[in-house]
């Protein structure tokens, strides 16, 4: 009888722990808790890298690897994005053919607002990124859209990020539809895919600062704060979605296009994870 009682007790404890786990991690719109996710990710990183202050995660791999940081600090003495910033400012302030400009499309004239992107647009039922808003501003004013990955769009975005440096990200998830977009991004981040069977998390959570061939993947926390970036590999400035495309391709997946809904949802999830961290874009990366 005692054994039966113990068995039932054991099973109920096991069942309860399963239920509790499901409730905290959240795989559905009803159960997902973005704030719990954000805190859990921070806790994970704190445990992995106890000597790294939370505010340092805006610096990517340079927050956790001393040798990479030393090289990066030397690069930052003459930031490789300086000319892009100048170009970005010039483009930002050049009026469209109709006399209007980017400043007319954005809150506060487009200055110091990077931390509010991406956001959930409830009328359109979609996530709007900064680059998407830049191109929509152009098209509303009769201009052709810019390419999504590099060149002018990255330069304008870099200038807008620069005017926002030091501002804390404060991404909001106002309702269940926004939560569904967040969940879609979260699910993409944690799902293994492609011929290499890799998820974003494989490299940027468990794989952070662990060699993948000769590379050290950066921590997922703070990923979006420093874009656009000049990557040494690219030799020029590029947007976050250019990097997303590259990562997706590197997993040997049929890669998505920049600004596709899935990538925008991924950016929404990732940027929410960075809430409380500051804008420090544009950046320089390996």
């Amino acid at each position: 009888m005692n054994i039966i009682k113990s068995t039932l007790l054991g099973l109920s404890v096991a069942a309860a722990s399963q239920m509790a786990m499901a409730a905290t991690t959240g795989a559905t719109v009803a159960t997902v808790d973005p704030e719990a996710d954000r805190i859990a990710l921070q806790e994970y990183m704190k445990n992995r890298f106890p000597d790294t202050p939370m505010s340092e995660y805006v610096n990517g791999i340079y927050a956790v690897d001393a040798a990479s940081r030393a090289q990066w600090e030397e690069i930052e003495e003459f930031p490789p994005y300086e000319l892009d910033l100048e170009k970005g400012e010039e483009l930002f302030n050049t009026p469209f053919a109709n006399g209007k400009g980017y400043a007319d499309c954005f809150e506060n004239g487009g200055i110091g607002i990077r931390q509010n992107f991406p956001y959930w647009n409830d009328e359109r039922k979609t996530v709007v990124t900064l680059e998407m808003a830049i191109n929509e501003c152009r098209m509303t004013n009769g201009e052709k859209p810019l390419g999504w990955k590099k060149g002018a769009i990255a330069e304008i975005s870099a200038y807008m990020a620069y005017t926002s440096r030091g501002n804390e990200f404060a991404i909001e998830i106002p309702n269940d539809e926004a939560k569904a977009a967040y969940l879609d991004g979260k699910k993409f981040f944690y799902s293994k895919r492609g011929q290499l069977n890799l998820s974003c998390a494989d490299c940027h959570l468990t794989g952070t600062n662990r060699l993948v061939r000769a590379d050290l993947p950066s921590p997922a926390l703070g990923h979006t704060t420093h874009f656009p970036v000049v990557r040494s590999k690219w030799g020029n400035i590029g947007t976050l979605h250019r990097r997303y495309e590259g990562c997706h391709r590197d997993s040997r997946s049929e890669y998505l296009k920049p600004q596709s809904e899935t990538f925008r949802n991924l950016e929404y999830f990732q940027t929410y994870m960075s809430n409380g961290l500051i804008v420090n874009g544009p950046g320089a990366r390996k």
Binding site: G10, A27, E43, Q195, S253, E254
Partner: protein, 143 residues
């Protein structure tokens, strides 16, 4: 103390019984690793070959009809993997090359390429199924 021992015993038994219940996929992979493509293995009382579906299809006589059938099957599976959001990078390229080989009358080459595309697409769909069940396991828990 007795209670704790009993609970631990129940947990251990449950875990060990879960571990011993090998899925078909696990049994296939294990047998394939040991025997290569020409072996057999038993699963749930039945005998199976260690050949993949694609190897079986590509080993049919190399002619226009079989090449086209395999190409069509691979294309359909590729579409399924795309719709699942888990298509692989090179599958489209293999399909294109397979189509070109059919046009050139190189049927064995076409079948090998279509088989490779089919395999990749099938694995992509399997990834989707796995991800649906397990993606949440990778999320750091809140302690």
């Amino acid at each position: 103390m007795k209670k704790i021992i009993s609970i631990a015993a129940v947990a251990a038994l449950t875990l060990s019984s879960m571990a011993s219940a090998q899925s078909f996929s696990e049994a296939f992979d294990a047998a394939r690793a040991l025997q290569g493509a020409n072996g057999t293995f038993e699963w749930n009382g039945k005998k199976y070959s260690t050949q993949t579906i694609e190897e079986a299809l590509a080993s049919k006589p190399a002619n226009a009809e079989n090449a086209q059938a395999l190409f069509d099957a691979a294309k359909a599976k590729y579409k399924e993997s795309q719709e699942a959001g888990f298509a692989w990078r090179d599958t489209k390229k293999y399909l294109k090359e397979s189509k070109e080989a059919i046009a050139a009358g190189e049927f064995q080459k076409a079948m090998d390429l279509a088989a490779r595309a089919h395999y990749q697409a099938r694995k992509g769909v399997e990834q989707r199924d796995y991800a649906e069940k397990h993606w949440i396991d990778a999320v750091p828990p809140l302690n």
